[in-house]
Amino acid sequence: MKKTTLLGLLALLILAGCGTSKSGSAKSVSEKAVADREVTLLAVNDMHATIDNFPRFAFMVDSLRILYPEMLLVTAGDNQTGSPINDQYHEKGLPMIELMNAVKFDLSAVGNHEFDVGVKNFETHTQIAGFDYLCANLKSPEGMEFAIHPYKIITMPNGLKVGFVSVLDLNPNNQPDCHPDNITGFSFTNPYETAQQYLHLKDSADVLIYMNHFGFENDVKLANSFPKGVVDLIIGGHSHTKVDKEQIHNDILITQAERRLKYATLIHLTVSPDGQVSRSMQLLTVGKTGSESVDVRAMVDEYNNNPEMQEVIAEALFDFRTTDELGYWMADALQATAKTDIAVINKGGVRVDDLPAGGVTRKIILTIDPFGNQVVTLNLTGHELKAFVSDMFGRDEYRLMYPAGMHLNYTVEGEVDVKLIDIEFLNEDGTPFDMDRTYSVATNSYVLATAIFDREDPGKTLSITTAEGWINWLLKEKTVKSYQEEKRVFIGN
């Protein structure tokens, strides 16, 4: 560790200019103060298991704590999901919790990806975390012992009472965007309405902060719905917004630090004896390079050397000789993950040409499918499905789709400038499709975002990557059949 760089960082932080704003007439509830009192926060959000940035981040936190010994370290949620090392750890997501404990986080909002580790693991995380989880608009499953609180009031050594509340974004189904299996037993309430119910905390706190996983634009709407002079600050997450200048809406400062520990927001709140709250924020760059915490580096290196990535999770009994064979295998994995009638993937989604028989590791799957695309599902009639696959023929550079649960018979014209004439849809036994029937269909988020076709159902993500679903499927299957005789796509003139 370069000690000299620490002094440089501290000097920069001291010299760096910060904008300052004042919020409305806050009422001081602490013992009557005769001088200004300050609380400093370092806020991050959407860390998404970026463990490789933690040594650098830990160094920055240590440095700032020299300047601000009582600094609160908080995150607006989505600590989990985004790194195979963390996500595929035998105790899923545990590395992030251990790293957050090591740098001594004080609070975390619950983001939609906190649920990705599974109900039982998430319960354990809330119990072993050295920080408090906050979420006001969820109710934990009956009979379980989740340590999640709607709010928390922290009394600083200078007597300042700092109140925190948190709300989580919900989709139109009144659920966070995550796999439905991972929220079994939870119930959720409207975040806007719930947020209003905690404004009374300003009667018990000098400063009231909402630390939401709600998205920047929703945070603006929420700020505009609050009465003036009650809420001083919203620390946000979810939309991965880089707020590098003061955003004040209805007299409330709103911050967000993009994602993956690229940045962190340093926030100072100063409460004057008459209860006025002054605020300033500065977006600091964390990044990957620079001085690091030696202790945290050692932890991260140990996680990265985890032999689980090289562990054989299934045995391929035969060689995969072509991209087509791998594509059919990938489509089968997608269909099994989504439990749909049909799955289709784009040929460009398969990044390996062949694979010898033998052990299949997580690393191999992540090499074949490295994009991090999400599993998406939708219900389509046969006619809508035909419009979908036909549109992709004209868009994807490889043109054809790999199906599971059906066969495709393409009729094309031309050899260089190939034009699609028709696609016949067949059941796996070769019988014609019922084009008027509605089928459940799985594909990946890249394909569904790229295809333009009329449909009733816009679709939804299952909040799991195609690679993760594939790995989970292999962990159950253990062996991989031969795909050498598979023929699901036919091309004729």
Binding site: P172, H238, E397, S445, P458, T461
Partner: protein
Amino acid sequence: MKVIVNNTEIKIFQGATVGDAIRTYYSLHGQRAPSPLPEAEDAYGNRVAHDGALTEGSRLSVTVSFPD
């Protein structure tokens, strides 16, 4: 859900990201999205990452140049 990209309304799947919306925008204009995708800003002039979550009615600005 519906989001707005460069004043064009886009209907996109629930849980889509900023990058998904940009890809759909390009497809709607008959174009293949470039790699890397262009940067995007929200309605308040903040830069948003491509893997950022969208919510109903999100507004994005993307600088694009389509071939003639």
